[in-house]
């Protein structure tokens, strides 16, 4: 996929070219929205982010289109978080087949693992999501983009519009907070990843 060509075609009004970019980055964008906001409103915010990305294509000055998309998603998430602060609501959990609320939308997860793995991954996912929710928005965005989305420091710096030093600092502090938080979920973590295990020589 030639991103530059697609971006140029999209700038000229070819919506199909832009949609190819959307398909390439929509999972990553949605994941960031889920980690930033939880499952509530993540899809709507992702859609808004892509719409904003298209409407402001002329402002794209080149560089990493992935970073640009992630910035749009981050900004959309910040907007949504501010809206929630203004109008707090009670989140609704999704319903299962018996019309009962489930705590996490496992029906959206990647199911390419064994049932045991899925169970562990579900617990881990909840633990991580809970700990991420305890971070400030700025720390959360950085650690999600680096450790969950796999962006490098420069891409994150471009996405949040901050220098590399800020990314490094926020990432280290976010990891420290998550380390302390995840200790409280020791029993939920995969056995091989217990944080209190002895340090191997």
């Amino acid at each position: 996929m030639d991103e530059v060509l697609l971006v140029n075609r999209a700038r000229q009004g070819e919506l199909e070219a832009f949609n190819q970019l959307v398909l390439a980055y929509q999972d990553m964008a949605y994941n960031l929205a889920v980690r930033m906001l939880g499952d509530e409103d993540a899809a709507d915010v992702t859609q808004v982010a892509f719409l904003s990305a298209y409407r402001s294509l002329d402002a794209f000055r080149g560089g990493s289109f992935k970073s640009w998309v992630m910035r749009m998603v981050t900004n959309a998430c910040y907007d949504e978080l501010r809206r929630r602060k203004r109008r707090p609501t009670i989140p609704l959990e999704p319903m299962n087949d018996e019309d009962e609320e489930v705590e996490s939308p496992t029906w959206l997860e990647d199911t390419s693992h064994s049932p045991e793995e899925e169970l562990e991954r579900g617990e881990l996912d909840r633990a991580i999501q809970s700990c991420l929710a305890g971070l400030s928005e700025d720390f959360r965005a950085v650690v999600v983009m680096v450790d969950i989305e796999g962006l490098d420091y420069q891409e994150v710096a471009d996405a949040i519009g901050k220098p590399l030093g800020t990314v490094k600092s926020r990432l280290a502090r976010a990891r420290l907070k998550l380390r302390d938080c995840l200790r409280s979920f020791e029993e939920l973590l995969p056995s091989g990843e217990r944080l209190d295990r002895e340090v191997k020589p």
Binding site: L23, Q26, D27, Y54, S56, I128, V146, D158, A172, P190
Partner: protein
């Protein structure tokens, strides 16, 4: 351990785990790790946290987020427009503000304030209660005192016509004094005959309800022969150049006398007089009655210049210079505010634009 390790240590650990430490710093950090068990343990814990986060399941997008034409009826033309014009708007606002400040500064500067126009337009002056336009009722436009005395009728007519438009309501006459070099506001004639001695006075003003009203009786009490010399009653402005005054003719009458302000007005509004009579002249000049027309509808300011006294065009200069300047300042202020607000809105809309 926590207390011993600094934030910097944890930042180094985090960057080291991501392979983001520079080569030299990485070597030093590895040396520290081998020697410091606490640092090594902290790195192990952060490494496991990092690994856990990277194990977090990835969610698939519940649907495609591709766009349709219906979702984008307008490609944010206004947003790009406003953001694109932000530099121009901000520059225009700054420029207008600077020009406004410059005009205010120039207005307040000594050079500008010394100008009689600005002095007369100062808000502290009572003439502002009624725009000063009565001076031309006095010797108009450079008409000398002698010529005016020789033929007082024209100026009297002028004064009379103005008196019709704004009748005098009575009150104490106030002779205002202004000054300004080469402003053409002298009362002297072009030939200088009626110059200096006669120029030492201001036109009486009758500013309606304002303080500058001239009693009608002042007309009758006006001496037709103007004392051409200042006496002990010489106002401060005259005393500024006492050597130029050598006429000892007594001043008679109770009305306003050109060149001799009443005691109540002595010392008032005399500072702006920048120039004075350079040489004394014989007191042969007579004051045309028209120069002291108390029925002038508005205050007058007679300026003493080396050429003499002229009361004409002074007020015109005031209105023509001060008012446009005020209008210009208000316009500049409005332009600065509007462009500044537009630039702020453009910045608000555009600051979230990536890259």
């Amino acid at each position: 351990m926590k207390a011993r390790l600094s934030t910097r240590d944890y930042e180094q650990i985090s960057a080291y785990l991501d392979g983001q430490l520079p080569a030299g710093e990485r070597a030093r950090f590895e040396t520290r790790i081998n020697a410091d068990a606490d640092l090594r343990k902290a790195m192990e814990e952060m490494g496991r946290t990092r690994a856990l986060l990277r194990m977090a399941p990835h969610r698939r997008a519940p649907r495609n987020f591709t766009l349709t034409r219906a979702m984008i009826p307008v490609r944010a033309e206004s947003k790009r427009f406003s953001w694109g014009f932000f530099p121009a708007l901000s520059f225009a606002s700054a420029l207008a503000t600077l020009v406004l400040i410059a005009t205010i500064f120039l207005q307040q500067s000594p050079m500008m304030s010394a100008q009689p126009n600005f002095a007369s337009s100062d808000s502290s002056l009572p003439q502002n209660a009624a725009p000063l336009q009565g001076v031309q009722a006095a010797p108009s436009a450079g008409r000398g005192a002698t010529s005016a005395a020789a033929n007082p009728e024209p100026t009297a007519n002028v004064a009379g016509s103005q008196a019709k438009s704004q009748p005098n309501t009575g009150g104490a006459p106030v002779i205002t004094w202004g000054g300004g070099p080469a402003t053409g506001m002298g009362g002297g004639s072009a030939d200088g005959i009626g110059g200096a001695p006669l120029g030492m006075g201001g036109g009486p003003s009758s500013a309606g309800n304002g303080p500058l009203v001239v009693p009608p009786e002042g007309i009758e009490t006006l001496p037709t022969q103007l004392p051409t010399q200042a006496t002990a009653d010489t106002p401060p402005m005259l005393s500024a150049a006492p050597s130029t005054v050598n006429d000892t003719a007594p001043i008679t009458g109770t009305g306003p006398i050109l060149g001799v302000p009443q005691d109540a007005q002595t010392g008032k509004y005399l500072e702006p007089l920048p120039t004075f009579i350079p040489t004394p002249t014989p007191s042969k000049s007579t004051l045309p009655a028209s120069t002291l027309m108390p029925t002038q509808p508005e205050a007058a300011t007679l300026i003493v210049t080396p050429e003499g006294v002229s009361g004409s065009a002074k007020e015109d200069g005031v209105d023509r210079s001060a008012t446009p300047l005020l209008i210009a300042q208000i316009t500049l202020a409005l332009v600065a505010l509007m462009t500044g607000a537009a630039a702020f809105l453009a910045w608000r809309r555009g600051r979230r634009m990536p890259f």
